[in-house]
Each structure stands twice: as structure tokens, then as C-alpha cells.
Subunit: 323 residues, 2 copies
């Protein structure tokens, strides 16, 4: 059994816990939290320990899955822990991946451990889909569409506007744009042509609704480059109809092989973004364990992981039933 530790216990941590619980080759050794452990109740009654005690668990844990945020938590925590444990994270600030990789690589090599970073679905499964598609169709164009799904970053940006009590933002891919790629047109899109932004907003009592709507629609980077719809609803409606965290999207590549057009498409439709992400992190933990057992160390991404290492199946099973 591969002994897993979870660092951080929010939605993603719960997703990992659920996935580990269903993995026949894994057991959950502990959940580590920076909160008071006595106040944290886990889905599967896994033991909860203070983060400050994590070093004592080095001999009891094979892989740590770090479930933190990419803004401030993972850039510190993943390198720190990679020196002492095999680690997995879902670092998703695309622009900072090279720096994060270098930091984790240095720490993991010093400790003789493996750290697989950016293991969610984007970066993660979408990245792999882009790579496989480009390897088969080097002469072509790749496109990534996200949604329909909740963007936490955009929802947070709305919540920071004066007079807004709560908000939920859906990123929505424009179906006609997807169809143009599928038809082999190789279009060049503006941001506005690929995605819509659909916002559900709860205003404070007496707030200026028109001012809020304007503030959203004109917000640079977040909303201004897109067609944005704003719908004001009550807190009850938000809690009732918009409490889930669905997401998904599509990676497409259209390209030419010797004069013939081909398209490759990889799509996800997820009722729970954090639970699906947690499930990929859990599969990646299996790979980290195998790679480190083989003597590998340093930072890795899913680009470096032979697909078989993510699976519980034996080689014989894979050859006979999945190839």
C-alpha cells in the first residue's frame, strides 16, 4: 500500500481524500492542517495532524499531496516539503511554472525525492492532450476552451467590488468558435470570440446595481475583453442554484498530414472541479511513488510520467485489456 499524506484540507483536499479512499493500492496516513486539527473533520475519519508535526511523519508517508493555492501557498510549501517527501501539487499559475519547477527540482534533488508539479487538468491533463496532439500533428494549431464552469478568480474579483455581497462567475465557451476549429478553419480568435463571462451577483441592500454592473463589465483583463452578462439574484438563489463547482473544457488541434486535414479533441465535463483535480493528483502520487522507487529524483510534470505509472493495472492487464 502506498501511504499518502494530504497537506491542506479545503475542497481539493477533500477531493484527494475521496480518491485515495477509492484507490485499492493506497491508504491515507494523515491530513495535515495549519488550522487547529481538533476543529477539522474529515470525510473518512482520517487522522488530522498539525502541519508543524509533519517532519515526524517522514517514515510513515510515501507521498504527500499538497492541496494549497498557487498564489502564495504552493510556491513556498512545495519546495519546502520536496526536500523531505515525494510530493504532488496542482500549481496552476502558468507564467510562473518554470520558476516553481526550478525551486522544486533543487529541493527534491537535494533530498533524493520526486516532486510532480502542476498535476491538475489545466495544467495537467489538458497539457498532455496538447502535447500528444502536437506530436501527431506538428503542422497545425492548438486551441483551449474552458467551461462551462466556475472561475474562482473571476468570482473573487466581483466580490471585491463595492456593494457586492457574493458572486459566482461562469466561463462559457462559444460553441460556434469550437465548431470552426473542428471544421479545420484554423481561425485566429480574439478573447471575446472564444469565451463569454456569465455572472450571478448578490448585491448589498441599497447598493447601486447599475454601478456594480458597469464595474464588472469594464474591469480590465478579467471582464473588459469579453462579452459579459450580469444577473442579480438573492443569496438564497445563489446558494440554491450556484453552490457547485462544475468545470471542464476542450483542447483541440487541427492540423495537416501530407495534405489531409485532421482534428484531435480532448474534452472534460466535470460536476466537481476540485474532486476531479484531486483524483488526478492521486493518480500522480502513484507515479511519484514508482519513479522514486526506481531511483529517480527531482521535479517532474505529467510530461515525464509514462502513462502506465498512473494506473493500478499490471502490464499484463494493460496489454490484454486496455491497449
Amino acid at each position: 500500500m502506498i501511504r499518502i499524506g494530504i497537506v491542506g484540507y479545503g475542497n481539493l483536499g477533500r477531493g484527494v481524500e475521496s480518491a485515495v479512499n477509492h484507490a485499492e493500492d493506497m491508504e491515507l496516513a494523515a491530513v495535515f492542517t495549519r488550522r487547529d486539527p481538533s476543529g477539522v473533520e474529515t470525510l473518512t475519519a482520517a487522522p488530522v495532524m498539525a502541519y508543524s508535526e509533519i517532519d515526524k511523519m517522514q517514515d510513515a508517508i510515501d507521498v504527500l499531496i499538497i492541496c494549497g493555492g498557487s498564489a502564495t501557498d504552493l510556491p513556498e510549501t512545495t519546495p519546502e516539503l520536496a526536500a523531505k517527501f515525494n510530493v504532488i501539487d496542482s500549481f496552476d499559475t502558468h507564467a510562473n511554472i518554470p520558476e516553481h519547477y526550478a525551486n522544486v527540482d533543487k529541493a527534491a534533488k537535494a533530498g533524493g525525492k520526486v516532486g510532480i508539479i502542476s498535476c491538475g487538468w489545466d495544467p495537467g491533463y489538458f497539457s498532455i492532450a496538447r502535447l500528444y496532439a502536437e506530436a501527431a500533428l506538428p503542422n497545425g494549431e492548438s486551441y483551449t476552451f474552458w467551461g462551462r464552469g466556475v472561475s474562482q478568480g473571476h468570482s473573487d474579483a466581483i466580490r471585491r467590488i463595492e456593494g457586492v455581497k457574493d458572486a459566482r462567475q461562469y466561463t462559457v465557451p462559444i460553441e460556434s468558435a469550437l465548431d470552426r476549429v473542428r471544421a479545420g478553419e484554423h481561425p485566429e480568435f480574439t478573447a471575446r470570440e472564444m469565451h463569454l463571462r456569465d455572472c450571478y451577483v448578490v448585491a448589498e441592500e441599497g447598493a447601486d446595481l447599475e454601478a456594480i454592473e458597469q464595474a464588472i463589465k469594464t474591469m480590465p483583463n478579467y471582464f473588459e475583453p469579453y462579452d459579459t452578462t450580469v444577473t442579480f439574484i438573492t443569496q438564497e438563489e445563489l446558494d440554491r442554484d450556484h453552490s457547485g463547482l462544475p468545470h471542464g473544457g476542450s483542447v483541440l488541434r487541427a492540423g495537416d498530414t501530407g495534405g489531409y486535414n485532421n482534428t484531435v479533441e480532448f474534452s472534460l465535463n466535470l460536476e466537481s472541479n476540485p474532486f476531479f483535480t484531486g483524483s488526478i493528483l492521486t493518480a500522480a502520487a502513484r507515479a511519484a511513488y514508482i519513479m522514486n522507487s526506481e531511483g529517480q529524483c527531482g521535479a517532474k510534470t505529467l510530461f515525464d510520467v509514462p502513462p502506465a505509472y498512473l494506473s493500478t493495472h499490471t502490464r499484463e492487464d494493460l496489454l490484454a485489456h486496455m491497449l
Copy 2:
């Protein structure tokens, strides 16, 4: 530059030639044929040599891509050549993969070479899609739909019927079945519920058309388990409208993560089946070269290949632009 040899020069061989020609890190050393080399004209004026001379080229070739049929050619040729060269094939008789793997493994290990088998799109990219989807959604069901595309085996089966001059058979996925999987229904399908068979037949002059249609529709395994349509056309119409070899299909998996439904879908839409397959074989040759350079040997499949090994990009490029 990775020096490639192509063994066999039909549609697939031409597809590989085209892909190698577009690969910035490869050059085509020779095409080997069992026909008279002087009668073979290549797309890119690559040198053509007799298959009997292949051993002389051991020092001039890094990877051989074997473009033969799975029924009788590859089971002999791939193990024979794997003892002397790094090899790639597209062996696609699913039931015989374990035996083929074992034969190639033995030969390649004896010769210190790498042989990556079954590198097309099914087996191949579809197999990988099945594995990644199952790794993320262990609690779920996978489905593979093929088409709309030409099945050579079914076309050949029609051609063997008395009174048939020529034929082309399209395998057609049933869209409503795909939609049920996408909706998370986890249906159990009969063969008839997943695919149609659409046949275009040129009859000999004076042939009994009704007898031909009956012979097709009642043919066990090939057509009897499916709803089959038969359309008689002229040779001119067949040549004009049905000379291409399009194919494609979808791998879908619907599964549960902690009570949430998710679907993963990987789809191909190919104007040329052999040219796309040839392009994947070419990417796999890059991986075989890297793996053998690292000291690996024996039989492999795409399950064993880190995705990065299929790509021409440097690690820095992949981290900065594709992850």
C-alpha cells in the same frame, strides 16, 4: 538528426515518409521494400532499397518504422528486426498483442534495442486516452466508438462475395448512443446500438443484387450484429466519391468522484487514417531513439513512453508554453 528507415511502402509507409519529411529532427535514410526497388517511387525521392539488404544499414539507421499488416507480416517482421534495430510498428490485432509483445520483447532485449509496438491510434492514442481517463475516474465505464470511417477489413469481406467487383464500407457511430454516455447514463450497449455499417458496392455486370445484399447483411460477425445499409454504385462513383481513407472516433469515460459525475472524451476526425497513423509512428520513433539512448531495451508500448519523448520541444519550452 534521427535517421529513420521505413519498411514497407504502401499507404502507411507514405504517411510515415511525409511525417519524417516534416520532422525537424529526423532524416529518412531509406525505404525498404520486398518488391523490386526500381519499381518503387517515393514521395520525397528517398532512396529505396531491397529488404534483403537491410542488415547492411544497421549503422546508418537509428529507428526502423515497420509499415506492414498485422495478420501475417508484423508478427514475423517486427521480432526479426527488433533484434537488430530499434523498431516501431502499428500491430493492431488486439487479441494477439500479449503474444506479439512477448516475441518483440525477447528479440529486442537480446539485441539491446527498443521496440515500441501498437503505436497507431487504436491501439495507440485511443489506448492512452482510455488509460488516462480510467486513472482519473477509476469508478466508471469506458466506451470506444469508431468512425465515421472506412474499415478495410469489412470492405475486403464484401469484395469476397460472389458478384462483387469492388466495395467500400463505412463504420458509423450512432450519435444518440454517444449522447447517452456523455449524459452520464452508463448504458450497456449491444453492438447494434453503438455502430451502423454503411456499404457502397460495385456489382459485376448481371450479378444478383438482392443476393449480394442478403449475403452482406447476414454475414456473421462482420455485418449480422449491426444495422447495415447497402447502396449499389458504379465503379466510377466509387472511385470518385469513396477513394479516401477517412476515419476517427471517440473514447469516452463517464465516472464518479465522491458523488460527482464527470465525463472525459477524446475524439479524432481524420481525413486520412494511414497518414495520421504514420505521423504517430514517427513521433514514437523519436521516443524509441531517446529511450534506447538512455540504455533501455525490450518491447514497449505508448503506455511506457513519457509524453515528452514524443515531442521535439525542449523541457524549457514545454514548461513555459505547453504545460
